[in-house]
Amino acid sequence: MKLERRRLLAAGIVTAAGVAFGAVALAQPKEKVIRVTARKWVFLPREIRLKKGVPVVLEFVTADVVMGFNAPDFNARADIIPGKVSRLRLVPDKTGTFVFLCDIFCGDGHEGMSGQIHVVA
């Protein structure tokens, strides 16, 4: 089996197949990226609209202090660290309106730092 695979590799057949697969992957629609900025003491945007079953990538940035994004209904959370971009892939599995909040105590206004995810069918 190994020998056969080596022969194929030598012939460039597997490599070619890999490229073909990559091309297929590239042809698929890219996952939507939503950038969320966390700052004292608000998320921007505060409302995130998603479709059930459609994956998105949430990108978090902050220029302030360490904060957290937590959407407990989706068991999804990420640390948000100054100077870094944090990414969280989310595939909403239910419709409705759900809370997200900062779950790292970040100052005077921390307790009001929340938003909503609206998921439609």
Partner: protein, 297 residues
């Protein structure tokens, strides 16, 4: 023993009898520990000294002194008093934080009972990992024994991410290892150790690990604060009881879209605020909770 019985008789006569909660597996085999006196302690929580919001509490500067006076005027003094966190309201200014902590300390010095235990809340401790709080009140997690009950204070707030942390969990494991399986254990903490309502940050990120360590012990009861209202829940055989606040009440978990203070009702001042007495009946591992208002009606 005598004082506790007298106090219970008094509570019944005064129509103040509390609700009795048995910690999980009580009522079975006789407690192997030495015969112990029953006793009672007082829990105060979430005083948020320094809070300013006239529509929420127009007597923010007077509520804590009134609560201290109310504890002092109890017909029987408790064995000890415990504050389960958020002694002060948060501030980004370290100097102001220390000023509030100092004022709080000076106000509660007026308690007749000098056996007072303190715990931090996230408002006191999360912005500096408990540094200022410790300057005033010492260790943020500890244990002590009182009349046959082992009390454990767990700090789930000095980490701004609401974690107890590996170091403290290791200490907890070692502390609990010294206790008999049927020992009477009472835990004080600020946040709920279980996921009460994470959507409002009413949880401890690694609280499940603490509960796992407590589970082998048959008689465990947890008293906590943070949610500014009474709440009673079991996780397995472990009972969890949250206390009222002494600054403003909060709505029931998930009862409205946002967690926001319940506004002051001029027709019913101090409504929803208060403190509690806990009568510990050690042999039965039962805890009778009596809620007291800030001001008598």
């Amino acid at each position: 023993m005598r004082q506790s019985i007298d106090r219970r008789d008094f509570l019944k006569l005064a129509g103040l009898g509390g609700v009795v909660f048995a910690s999980g597996l009580a009522g079975g085999a006789k407690f192997a520990g030495a015969a112990q006196d029953d006793f009672y302690f007082v829990q105060l929580s979430d005083t948020h000294w320094g809070f300013n919001g006239p529509v929420v509490n127009p007597d923010a500067g007077g509520t804590l002194p009134k609560a201290v006076a109310a504890v002092n005027s109890l017909d029987f003094q408790p064995d000890f008093v415990v504050f389960t966190g958020d002694l002060t309201h948060t501030t980004d200014d370290p100097k102001e934080r220390r000023r509030r902590l100092a004022e709080f300390r000076d106000i509660v010095k007026d308690l007749k009972n000098k056996n007072v235990r303190f715990m931090p809340g996230e408002h006191d401790a999360a912005l500096d990992n408990g540094q200022a709080w410790k300057e005033f009140f010492g260790a943020s997690y500890y244990s002590f024994d009182h009349k046959g009950v082992h009390f454990v204070a767990i700090d789930n707030v000095s980490d701004p991410a609401a974690r107890i942390g590996e170091q403290q969990l290791a200490w907890l494991k070692s502390d609990l290892a010294k206790q008999a399986a049927d020992g009477r254990i009472v835990v004080f903490t600020h946040r709920p150790l279980f996921d009460l309502y994470p959507q409002w940050d009413w949880a401890t990120r690694d609280g499940a690990q603490a509960i796992e360590l407590l589970m082998p012990h048959k008689n465990v009861t947890v008293f906590y604060g943070h949610i500014h209202q009474e709440h009673h829940q079991m996780t397995g055989h472990i009972a969890h009881h949250s206390a009222k606040s002494l600054i403003f009440p909060l709505p029931a978990p998930g009862s409205q879209p946002k967690r926001a203070p319940i506004l002051w009702d001029p027709a019913q001042p101090y409504k929803g605020l208060g403190f509690r007495g806990v009568d510990a009946e050690v042999q039965k591992a039962e805890y009778e909770i009596t809620e007291y208002p800030v001001k008598k009606a």
